[in-house]
């Protein structure tokens, strides 16, 4: 994840959070890793939510395939107080949690716009990744390749994790 794009994603989540009058907006990758969360997250177990969201998308994706659909791109869960709106943005998942201060219509409208913007940002990230992978001869794309901080991990470092 690149710093610049990460900030853009965060800004878009903030914007959506505000415009959709949502409680929380967050972005998860399809493996269940939380990318960013915005809003009233203090009392929310975002890690578990991220993992269950990915499980949910995976399960409905499996159902879609059985019906000959590529994906179900929008899921909506309605509760007594809070509701969850989940939508697929390419390889990641956008989640909006909202209550009676907002409405499904408003959320859907704002999400649609955000999906477009997030798609563009994600596209840029993919391009950067591809460039970084390209051989160094190709226009010197590799010149800014930062040195990985993990190259010097030792077994001691790992042992320390387990005290």
């Amino acid at each position: 994840m690149y710093e610049e794009e990460f900030k853009q994603i965060d800004a878009e989540l903030h914007r959506l959070h505000q415009q959709a009058n949502a409680k929380v907006t967050f972005l998860v990758d399809k493996n269940g890793q939380l990318i960013s969360a915005v809003g009233e997250t203090e009392n929310l177990d975002t890690t578990s939510l991220a993992s269950l969201t990915a499980g949910n998308i995976a399960a409905t994706g499996g159902m879609a395939k059985l019906l000959g659909e590529k994906d179900f791109s929008i899921l909506f869960h309605e509760g007594e107080r809070d509701n969850i709106h989940i939508s697929l943005v390419g390889r990641v998942i956008l989640v909006v949690i909202f209550d009676q201060r907002s409405s499904l219509g408003l959320v859907r409208l704002r999400v649609k716009k955000s999906v477009e913007i997030l798609s563009q940002i994600l596209q840029k990230i993919l391009q950067k990744v591809d460039q970084a992978k390209a051989p160094s001869g190709a226009g010197g794309a590799a010149k800014e390749q930062p040195k990985s901080p993990f190259a010097e991990i030792t077994e001691d470092d790992i042992d320390k994790l387990f005290g």
Partner: protein, 195 residues
């Protein structure tokens, strides 16, 4: 694939506990959950049936500490072991960084162990992974039961490539952290290679 977030300085890795039904995958996670410092663990989530059989998955996030200034988080998952949940098992293997195969040591479960191991290999292959190239550890669980088969025999049937293996009695915790530590080590060394 491990998810490295350079902005938040976090590494997230996904480890899946695989194995036949009732071999003790969930018990492994429960023991880890019980014995971990409350600060470093999240909530354990079990999507199980009323009879406490895993329906979709168990999930336990663990933040063990820092390496090179990066917070290292492991997301531990189990799969449902029962044969007819194969579709769910495939989904959970997506994006896996390391696999622990939990085998039931009892002689009468040997066949189920072998079948599950073949199923693991097949499902990984469908996702484009090769088990021989993934961080992989085998755990022989239920060593305390009278019909437990010898480790030599189990290795011959389930571990022909000789990956690291551990004997375990999961409810008492024997072998549980040894297994976790070995898979964590392999996963982190893989990141080191890739980085």
């Amino acid at each position: 694939m491990s998810f490295i977030n350079y902005s938040a300085r976090e590494i997230n890795c996904k480890i899946v506990f695989y194995g036949p039904g009732l071999c003790g995958k969930t018990t492994n996670l429960q023991y880890i959950y019980k014995k971990t410092n409350p600060d470093s663990k999240g909530k354990m989530i079990s999507l199980a049936t009323e009879s406490e059989r895993t329906l979709f998955f168990d999930f336990l996030p663990l933040a063990l500490g820092n390496i090179k200034g990066f917070k290292v988080r492991f997301h531990l998952y189990t799969v449902p072991g029962q044969v007819f949940y194969d579709a769910s098992r495939k989904l959970i293997l997506k994006g896996v960084d390391g696999v622990v195969f939990v085998a039931d040591s009892q002689a009468e479960r040997m066949e189920a162990d072998i079948e599950s191991m073949e199923n693991l290999r097949k499902n990984l292959h469908e996702q484009g992974y090769n088990l021989d190239q993934l961080p992989f550890v085998v755990q022989y669980n239920k060593r305390d039961l009278p019909s437990a088969v010898s480790v030599g025999e189990l290795n011959q049937a389930l571990n022909p490539k000789g990956v690291p293996f551990f004997e375990a009695i999961a409810p008492q915790g024997q072998g549980v952290f040894e297994t976790l530590k070995e898979i964590a080590k392999q996963v982190i060394l893989e990141i080191k290679k890739g980085g």
